[in-house]
């Protein structure tokens, strides 16, 4: 199993969620985060004093999926989240050694 982590633009969350759902991936966890990257920030002023807005609001999605689904899921996320504009975000995949469903104690693929 793998953990797919995606950083996407906030208004893309629904699109990604629907795309994954169509591929049968229902469970996921989202977090409000802020990101820095190539997108850079912009300079604003507050009461006449300049400051950098370099942390842009993003949403992080975490999805644990079974190995065979990983590639499809990543592709779907990338397709759904892309707007072609800078700051669209990243997806990365990390290995997962064990998963448990708390309610039932089921393990592994059954737990997803």
């Amino acid at each position: 199993m793998k953990l797919i982590t995606a950083i996407v633009k906030p208004f893309k969350v629904d699109d990604v969620k629907s795309a994954l759902k169509e591929a049968g991936v229902v469970g996921l966890t989202v977090t409000e985060v802020k990101g820095v990257g190539r997108q850079g920030g912009h300079t604003e002023t507050y009461r006449g004093t300049e400051y950098q807005v370099d942390l842009v609001p993003k949403v992080k999605l975490e999805v644990v999926v079974d190995d065979p689904v990983v590639d499809t899921a990543v592709d779907l996320i990338v397709a759904a989240a892309a707007s072609g504009k800078i700051g669209d975000g990243k997806v990365w995949v990390t290995p997962v050694e064990a998963v448990v469903r708390i309610r039932t104690g089921e393990q592994g693929v059954d737990a997803i």
């Binding site: 906030p10 208004f11 893309k12 969350v13 629904d14 699109d15 629907s18 989202v30 409000e32 609001p57 949403v59 759904a80 707007s83």
Partner: protein, 479 residues
């Protein structure tokens, strides 16, 4: 001295008005002083209504964010329901020309009456209904975060229609606790004094809050297995503070408006109210500071309110120094009382309503028996207080009043809450309590984040007709 007596006269006048006057009587032409009297009491009534916002904010701030819309909605709707309940039923029970010393009847629905000076029926109603709404709304805080909306709504209708008006009948309405024609008490040796309602308004609310909180039980998690209270932090101190300041402002309608006339005593009442609030705030802060090592903000706010409630009865009878003393004692009292109810009685009152309104209301009422010096038109004499040589008579009357109202309110509201509990239910399910009342009782959260209600871009642009997209593009070109 003229005006001092007017307070009593107006109440009687109110009844007279409702009783009507002989047909064919000359129409009374109001003087500018009449108009001023009415205008001031009306403005004071607006200030008292503004207190609804204060209560809503204090209660919202001292509870959790997941229930914020629910508690504020309760405050709004007990006011709206209360207005109609008092119009339809309560005002007659309190001030109806027929009926007896316990329960008023007649003069329903503000039936038009010839005007004979003093306050008009509508002025009187406006001011009184604002008070009724205050008594009702006090309860919501103590029952916060776990009471069903519809059950609370029902309760608030009954208290404004029946329970509060009966207490008013007994007192301001000229009932059994009041004075006979000869100035002595109807039943007791001397008549009661409660100028603006420490007992009549605040204790009524406070004791109803006590019964409500008792019958509901504590919020989930408020007490550990071994009965130790746990702190459940209020979610927004700014709301508490703003609410306290609004209540503070509103009180300058509540107390000085209870003069029921525009005269030069109005400002005397205001000053003693101000001093008592300040004293209560300071001693409340000092007490919690000493007891817990830090000046808790919410408790200090309770202290200010304690000072205000404590002086509400005596604001027409007490000198400034006595006002400061009474407020200061109120500020100390409220801290110990909150601790007592939380740790000993183990009633869960998230905002301290029982202590602020019930306990300090009782204290303020009793204080008249000790410190009354001026004649507030209820007392009918100067130097009625024990410390001014007035003997124990007044103190006894005040104590009887406090007790009578305590018993009456706890019994009737107790019965009411139990009746609700065993019919439509009083408390939300544990699931609802955990998830929060806002979404489950009202359909949406009190605070909704922007981000996670984010919508897909496809959807966003799909919502645009071609015409609209053209427009957007047109503008973009400009931008």
């Amino acid at each position: 001295m003229r005006r001092r007596l007017i307070t009593g006269a107006v109440v009687a006048g109110g009844l007279l008005l409702i009783l009507g006057s002989p047909a064919g009587a000359q129409e009374y032409e109001p003087t500018t002083q009449d108009i001023l009297d009415n205008l001031w009491v009306f403005i004071a009534g607006i200030l008292v209504l503004f207190m609804q916002a204060g209560f809503a904010l204090v209660e919202a701030g001292l509870t959790r964010g997941k229930n914020v819309a629910n508690i504020m909605m309760k405050n709004l709707m007990d006011c709206m329901a209360g207005v109609l309940a008092f119009f339809l039923i309560g005002f007659t029970i309190a001030y109806g020309p027929d009926g007896n010393d316990i329960f008023g009847l007649g003069g329903w629905f503000l039936a038009d009456q010839p005007y004979e000076g003093g306050l008009t029926l509508h002025t009187n109603f406006f001011f009184q209904v604002a008070f009724a709404a205050t008594a009702a709304t006090i309860v919501s805080g103590a029952m916060a975060e776990r009471t069903k909306f519809k059950s609370y709504f029902l309760y608030s209708f009954v208290i404004t229609a029946l329970i509060y008006p009966m207490v008013v009948r007994w007192t301001w309405g000229g009932g059994w606790l009041g004075a006979d024609e000869d100035g002595t008490g109807k039943v007791l040796s001397v008549p009661f004094s409660d100028f603006a309602g420490s007992t009549i308004v605040h204790s009524v609310g406070g004791w109803a809050a006590l019964m409500g909180a008792l019958i509901l039980g504590p919020r989930l998690g408020k007490y550990t297995k071994d009965g130790k209270p746990r702190a459940i932090l209020g979610h927004s101190i700014p709301l508490v503070l703003l609410g306290t300041l609004i209540l503070f402002i509103g009180w300058f309608g509540f107390n000085p408006g209870s003069e029921l006339a525009a005269d030069l005593l109005v400002q005397d009442i205001a000053v003693v109210t101000l001093l008592s609030a300040a004293a209560g705030g300071l001693t409340g802060m000092a007490t919690i500071w000493i007891r817990s090592g830090k000046p808790d903000v919410g408790m200090t706010c309770n202290g200010v309110l304690a000072g205000l409630v404590s002086i509400t009865a005596g604001c027409g009878a007490l000198y400034n120094w006595a006002g400061i003393l009474v407020g200061a004692i109120g500020g100390v009292l409220v801290v110990f009382s909150v601790e007592f109810f939380e740790k000993v009685v183990k009633v869960d009152d998230p905002v301290g309503a029982i202590s602020v309104h019930g306990v300090c209301g009782a204290w303020g009422t009793l204080a008249i028996g000790l410190f009354a010096a001026k004649d507030d038109a209820f007392l009918g004499r100067e130097d009625a207080g024990l410390f001014y040589g007035g003997g124990f008579d007044q103190l006894v009357t005040q104590a009887v009043m406090v007790l009578a109202v305590f018993v009456f309110v706890t019994v009737t509201t107790g019965a009411l809450f139990l009746a609700i509990k065993y019919t439509i239910g009083l408390r939300v399910t544990p699931e609802e309590e955990l998830e929060g009342l806002d979404v489950l009782e009202h359909g949406s959260p009190g605070y909704a984040g922007d981000t996670l209600s984010g919508l897909g871009m496809d959807e966003l642009t799909a919502s645009m007709s071609t015409k609209e997209l053209d427009r957007l593009v047109g503008e973009k070109a400009e931008a």
